[in-house]
Every structure is written in C-alpha cells, then in structure tokens.
C-alpha cells in the first residue's frame, strides 16, 4: 500500500470525504477601463522611431469584428499615429488632422514637424474634450529634432516621451517596458523590444490579438513590418 493510499484511508477514517467541486470561473468585479481593446506603443531608438500595434477590433469584448485591422494611420510622409479609444472618434479626428497638417505643410513649404502634428491632434482633442473619447500616440521623424514620440491623452494633454504604451493591453506590459527599455537602442534591438512587448500584451489581454503591425520611421523613409501571430515570440507557458 503506497503512501498516497494510506493518506486517503487516514482521511476517510477521520471523516473527510472527497467532493468533486465544479470549478466556476471568477466573475470580474473590476470595471472596464475607457480604452478600447488594443495595445499600441511607440519607441525611440538610435536614428528613428518604431510605432506598433496589434490588429484586433472587438465589439463588447466578446466578438472580434476584425482580425487584421491596421491601427497605424499615416498622417504625413514620416509621421504616423495610432489610436486608443473610440474608433469613430479617432477616424474623425485623424481625418481632420491629416487635412490641417497637409495645408500647414504647403504653407510652410516644408515637411511638418512631428510636434506640429501632435499639437494639431492635441488642439482637436482638447477643444472637443467633452465629446471625444480618443487618445493618440504620434511618432515620426523630422529634420529639426530627429525621431520623436508624443502622447496625446484623452483629455488633451500633450507629452513627449522616449517611449510610450497605450490601450487596454498596455496595463500588462508596464513592468516589462520599464525594465527592458534602454535609451539609444539599435534598430534590431528596438524591433525585438516592440515585438516582445506586443506579444506579451496580446498573450494576456483578450481584446488584443492578431498580427503585430510595426512601422519603422527613419530619415531614410518608412518601413512596414508585419509579424503574423504564429511568428510572435512565445514565452515559458505557451
């Protein structure tokens, strides 16, 4: 008679019976945040910026309305933005911003500054802050200040940062990006950093998923990198 059986008999003698309890999933007592189902990020590296996002659009957290949506919007040649919040508000604002920016660029007879693009978005978000529900990450390259990353929060605050993350999936990767980010990374290191961060967020957030869209913006131009789901890095429990 092995130890396990001995133990079981001991329990039975003492009056313990083994019940098979049906495991129920815990209900979510926490309320939903205002960000949409998404993970977006932008990171500065030595010579450029990488802006990235997942590709899932969901309705109510239970239906995936699109598996391959591109959330990286080009608002000028070397300036991209990605959205967090209501898709409708975001599309309206970026359309307006694109127009204003191209007009501004023609007036100045030179490509717009990334800060100008971020400011345009900020103006729109701030003046309409009661009605809008969208935040943006703007990243790009210009001749004056090189690579830059700006975040425009939902109320209309504008902040310049070396890197920034947003969307519902971003909560899960704050620790990871805080620990792993180093200033002046190379292009490959930065791509790996951004891909890992997106993969980790997609792994934990049910409303982020699909492929990882990454855009690398440098003085030389713009390059779109897509990492399909099965090529995303896998971690210890997968």
């Amino acid at each position: 008679m092995n130890e396990a059986t001995q133990y079981k008999l001991k329990l039975e003698r003492l009056g313990y019976h083994q019940f098979r309890t049906m495991e129920r999933h815990p209900t979510n007592y926490l309320c939903k945040g205002v960000s949409t189902g998404t993970t977006i990020l932008a990171v500065k590296f030595n010579g450029g910026v990488i802006i990235g996002s997942d590709s899932r659009a969901s309705v109510g957290g239970s239906y995936v309305s699109s598996k391959v949506i591109n959330k990286l919007i080009q608002i000028h040649d070397k300036i991209f933005c990605c959205i967090a919040g209501s898709l409708a508000d975001a599309q309206a604002v970026t359309k307006m911003a694109k127009f204003q920016l191209s007009f501004h660029s023609i007036q100045m007879d030179s490509p717009p500054l990334v800060k100008a693009a971020a400011s345009v978005l900020k103006e729109l978000c701030y003046s309409n802050r009661e009605d809008l529900e969208a935040g943006f990450i703007t990243a790009g390259w210009d001749k004056k200040r090189g690579p830059q990353v700006y975040t425009v929060s939902m109320g209309g605050m504008l902040l310049s940062q070396p890197f920034t993350i947003g969307g519902s999936g971003s909560t899960y990767i704050y620790g990871y990006v805080d620990a792993k980010y180093k200033p002046d990374m190379s292009r490959e290191e930065c791509l790996q950093f951004a891909t890992n961060a997106l993969a980790l967020a997609i792994g934990r957030d049910n409303v982020s998923g699909g492929v990882a869209h990454l855009v690398v913006i440098t003085e030389g131009g713009v390059e779109h990198v897509v990492v399909p789901g099965e090529k995303l890095p896998k971690f210890h429990d997968e």
């Binding site: 999933h25 209900t27 899960y172 990767i173 805080d178 620990a179």
Partner: protein
C-alpha cells in the same frame, strides 16, 4: 434671467464632511507574488494598506503564516482576508493535529477555496497560498476573487499585478535557483510598486523550504529603480 431651482436639502451629517479615508473600507490594494523553485517557494508582497487615498499602514506584513511551512499572501479587503486566514489557520491546525503530521499545501489551498467560494458574494479576497510539504515539495496555489483554485509555478495577484504580467511572462524560467527567484520576485514587485498607486513601501520576501522559513525585507532605497522617463 437667472433660473431658480428649488433643491431639497437634506441636513448633512458629520459623515458628509469627513475626509474620504474615514469613509472608505480598509483595502490591501497590493501586489503579491509567489514562485516555485526546486526545494521550496519564494513569496513576496509590498507593504501598503490604504483607506481611500490615505495610507493607513505603510509597513504592513501581507505574508501571513497559516502553518509552519505554509503561508498565504493576501490582497483585496483587509478585513475579509484577515478573517478568512484566521479561520483557515484554525481549521488547518485542527486537521494537522488529527492527522498527526504536517498538513499538505493543497489542503490549505482547498480550505481557502471552500471559504472564498461559499461566501463569494460577501467577500472580496484574492489569496495566494504557498508552502512546502514532504509529498510535493514547493507549491503555489492561487485563489482569486470568486473562489477558483489552481496551481501555477508562478502567480501574481493584487491591483499591481496587472502591470507585471508581461515582465513575469518574459522573465520566468523553470528550474531557477533560490537566489534567482528572490531576485526575480524583488524586481517584479518593484516594477509594480512603481506603477501602481495602491502598492508601495518595502518589499517583504520569504523563502519556505524543508529547512523552515527565511524572511527578508528590502527597504525602499535598496529597491532596483527602473525609470527611464
């Protein structure tokens, strides 16, 4: 022309003018973590207890002994978790005396689960049970809000845990040594404390193994810092 609206005014009580920390329940909005390694477990927690915006206790000990080599890490309502762990400590002690041998970690975890599931509507408690027993070595069981029970090699909990899922997923490896686990836990907790307003203070760590329990404290100024911005 000014519009006049008649609003019914209730006579205010002292409670209306009391600051929010006198009206809020005591919560361990927190970050807790437990990791299995060959030979035992490492558990860790921050040390902040809040009532609303006031930090009621900045040096709380959230690592509660349930038995000689079984601990639990508490998150959620401080009152609920203290009451549950007191009840389970009693039940487990009694069970251990009946059995005349040290209890299994799985038994302790099941007792927590029984209570958390039965009273799930009234309780707000997320608990990680970790310890060492002779049959299965170091084990970590998690009983989140709602009363589910599952065993995991590494588990994080509390409000600050959301921020470190990515870090834990990418940095955890199986078969780490005791020192590596301690380092990993301290770093993960520091990262969470830096981002979560309800977590902070010092990092309390404990190593539970066949040889007993070894407790450590990492003070605020000794924590690794990560701010790049």
């Amino acid at each position: 022309m000014a519009a006049v609206s008649l609003v019914r005014c209730e006579r205010g009580s002292a409670r209306d003018v009391a600051p929010d920390w006198m009206r809020q329940e005591l919560r361990t909005g927190t970050t807790i973590m437990a990791v299995e390694f060959d030979g035992g477990v490492v558990i860790g927690a921050d040390s902040r207890t809040t009532t609303g915006a006031y930090i009621a206790n900045r040096v709380t000990d959230k690592l509660t002994p349930i038995h000689e080599r079984i601990f639990c890490c508490r998150s959620g309502s401080a009152a609920d978790t203290q009451a549950i762990s007191d009840a389970v400590t009693y039940q487990l002690g009694f069970h251990s005396i009946e059995l005349d041998e040290p209890p299994l970690v799985q038994t302790a975890a099941n007792l927590f689960r029984e209570m958390c599931y039965r009273y799930r509507e009234e309780l707000m408690a997320g608990i990680i049970v970790a310890g060492w027993d002779k049959r299965r070595g170091g084990q970590v069981y998690t009983v989140p809000v709602g009363g589910m029970l599952t065993r995991q090699p590494v588990s994080v909990g509390g409000s600050g845990s959301s921020y470190i899922y990515g870090y834990v997923d990418s940095n955890y490896r199986a078969h780490m040594s005791k020192e590596e686990c301690l380092q990993f836990t301290a770093q993960a907790l520091s990262l969470a404390m830096e981002r979560d307003g309800s977590s902070g203070g010092v990092v309390r760590l404990a190593v539970i193994s066949e040889h007993g329990v070894e407790r450590r404290v990492v003070a605020g100024n000794q924590l690794p810092s990560f701010s790049a911005i």
